[in-house]
């Protein structure tokens, strides 16, 4: 099987645009990167796919030329799958939940202390770190984005299973206590947002959302 690919060869004195073909020594299945070496009569090309290197190394006479992987050939990232992102998300939540439970036991509280919040921190760290690129980029990222997009539907389902009837059966006391707590808390949001901003007054974010 001969695979054609366009290359631009820089020979030092002049550059040549041409299309080369190579015949993989090991049969290369599309979308399955592996080390494959190719030889034609005039040219030897060896691609290093084991480490997802996006470069091809050619040997033409005595020159060694490096060129980008042709688009037609298997490119980096083909091994990344949606499930990797979903798996990362699951591990983050499981770890967070575990830490939250342990915190609860340590504090002597019958509740999970911030498990979801801790899990979110893990995900933020993973998505901002280059070490986890294979789990957060491309297809893997869309595995996480899918759940993010399912957020509102899940919240609607959550609303549909609230004990609304139970809330109304609590009578006037329950309604008054709930409503009063919400109104006072709402009113305090701008107050505390300001405290946050004044304590950060030296940083650059002073005008950001102040014109609300």
């Amino acid at each position: 099987m001969l695979i054609p690919f366009p290359v631009e060869l820089d020979l030092g004195i002049e550059s040549v645009s041409t299309e080369l073909t190579y015949k993989p020594a090991v049969p290369v299945k599309p979308l399955s990167p592996q080390v494959a070496c190719a030889e034609t009569t005039e040219i030897a090309a060896c691609r290093d796919l084991g480490g997802y290197l996006p470069k091809l190394h050619y040997r033409l006479a005595h020159h060694i030329i490096t060129a980008p992987v042709p688009a037609a050939a298997p490119v980096k990232g083909t091994r990344i799958m949606i499930v990797y992102g979903v798996a990362l998300l699951s591990v983050c939540l499981l770890l967070g939940m575990f830490i939250g439970e342990v915190l609860g036991v340590l504090l002597g509280v019958e509740a999970n202390v911030g498990g979801v919040g801790i899990a979110m921190l893990f995900l933020v760290m993973a998505s901002n770190s280059s070490r986890f690129k294979a789990l957060t980029e491309g297809a893997a990222g869309s595995g996480i984005q899918f759940w993010s997009a399912m957020y509102i539907p899940i919240v609607v389902a959550m609303a549909a299973q609230q004990d609304v009837a139970g809330a109304t059966e609590g009578g006037l006391l329950a309604v008054t206590a709930g409503v009063a707590a919400v109104i006072v808390s709402f009113a305090l949001v701008p107050v505390f947002s300001k405290i946050g901003k004044s304590s950060n007054a030296d940083s650059t974010q002073t005008t950001g959302g102040s014109d609300a």
């Binding site: 939250g100 498990g115 959550m158 549909a160 299973q161 009837a165 505390f192 959302g209």
Partner: protein, 252 residues
């Protein structure tokens, strides 16, 4: 008819996906056609969900809204704690760490302030309604924190079954009001940036209320509010049966 029901009950999660999908489609249609986009489609969908939950609770006598109806059992899984938390965490994808740090201190302060404020308001209402026993006042006040803190506190300090039920009801009212009220007041309380969303999550605390309230206001704010809100219940359970109870006990 029996065959159809068997299929639907056996595949109830798929029924939930289809039903929620239809609900959201109708909600966005109504939002765009009749309110010209002034009310967010998801706010209508969440309200429809709550109305359905009320109907489900009244017809079945259960506590899980429509999820107590066999065919709609999948709603219980789809909107249950596991998938809800999974979806909440996924919203943090792409959030910049620096954004979280900016409001970090204000967020932490707001969690403690939120627990304290809701507790004090709840206690005041309980006293207003004639309660004079420290255990009763503390339990009802803890219910105004969240509907989880209420019973946890009540059981820890030995409150009666009736008072614990009252505290759960108070917490539910709070949660439902946050779900539906947030999009209406968002403009007036400056809830339009990550920092105020973190403060909002810390002050309100009810995870489901904050999750739904922010979804109906601006889904971009969800990760920030949810981040602080998930610590709130833990802090409430920590302070309720201890510091806050001693505080009330020393007065009454």
């Amino acid at each position: 008819m029996d065959i159809l029901e068997t299929v639907l009950v056996r595949n109830n999660l798929l029924v939930a996906f289809a039903l929620v999908g239809a609900t959201i489609w109708i909600s966005y249609l109504v939002a765009n056609r009749f309110t010209a986009g002034r009310i967010h489609g998801s706010a209508i969908a969440i309200t429809l969900g709550l109305v359905a939950a009320y109907w489900g609770g009244v017809t079945t006598g259960g506590t899980r809204g429509v999820a107590d109806i066999a065919v709609l059992g999948g709603i219980g899984l789809m909107g249950g704690g596991m998938l809800r938390d999974f979806a909440i965490v996924s919203t943090a994808f792409g959030v910049k760490f620096s954004e979280l740090k900016k409001a970090g201190i204000a967020g932490v302060i707001s969690i403690f302030a939120g627990v304290l404020v809701s507790f004090v308001v709840g206690a005041a209402v309980a006293i207003l309604f004639g309660y004079t026993n420290a255990i009763d006042i503390t339990t009802i006040a803890a219910g105004a924190v969240t509907y989880i803190v209420g019973p946890v506190t009540g059981e820890a300090i030995g409150a009666s079954e009736a008072v614990i039920t009252l505290s759960v009801a108070a917490g539910l009212v709070k949660s439902i009001l946050v779900m539906t009220g947030t999009p209406l007041v968002a403009k007036y309380i400056g809830l339009d940036n990550p920092q105020s969303a973190m403060v909002f999550g810390g002050l309100m605390g009810t995870t489901s209320g904050v999750a739904a309230g922010l979804a109906a206001t601006d889904p971009k704010l969800v990760p920030y509010g949810a981040m602080t809100a998930t610590f709130y219940t833990g802090v409430g359970c920590l302070l309720g049966p201890s510091v806050l109870y001693f505080m009330v006990d020393s007065i009454f």
